[in-house]
């Protein structure tokens, strides 16, 4: 199956706390991300913005994301990190991070 690439952006409210948590994520968080077939996952910051990029190489993205959302470790993590972020004002309904459009790619 072809790898899918994702780019997303959001604002950060407390960058220092965000960096501190992400330097050492809570137990099970990284393991669940990989179990759900996300890889090469990187988050960058600049000013008030965060940018995330990752690849998905599984077979059923929606099912894997539902699995992640149902994971107690992931839920505990989100309870801590989501309040550190501020979704974009013009986000689409249901978005937390806002999806971006890929305009160029070179392997």
């Amino acid at each position: 199956m072809a790898v899918r690439r994702f780019g997303e952006m959001i604002k950060v409210k407390d960058l220092e706390a965000y960096k501190k948590w992400h330097a050492n994520p809570m137990p099970g968080v990284n393991e669940m991300i990989r179990e759900c077939h996300l890889r090469n996952y990187t988050i960058y910051s600049r000013g008030e913005y965060l940018f995330a990029t990752y690849e998905y190489d599984g077979e059923d993205f929606e099912a894997d994301m539902a699995k992640m959302a149902a994971d107690p470790n992931t839920q505990a993590w989100w309870d801590v990190v989501k309040p550190l972020m501020q979704p974009l004002e013009d986000r689409k309904e249901g978005e937390f991070w806002s999806g971006m459009e890929e305009v160029y790619h070179l392997e």
Copy 2:
């Protein structure tokens, strides 16, 4: 040698023109990028922002970037695409695209 990852952001002034050019870059541009050991190069857009991410797996980043900057095909390309972008107001001296800080990575 370890792969280096980069994330950068900038504003776009004319997204439609930017997308059109990047859907089919000028001859030699992609070839020079790869010759200079950049890979997995992706540019995303959302609203007025562009985000670029790429990896470098060569031996001398500065030398490769100088080689790219001296390439006539690349110069012709930059002459066309740079005017479509607007560097961030708070960029560092000498920056066109602004570098971002990596705050999280999972292979």
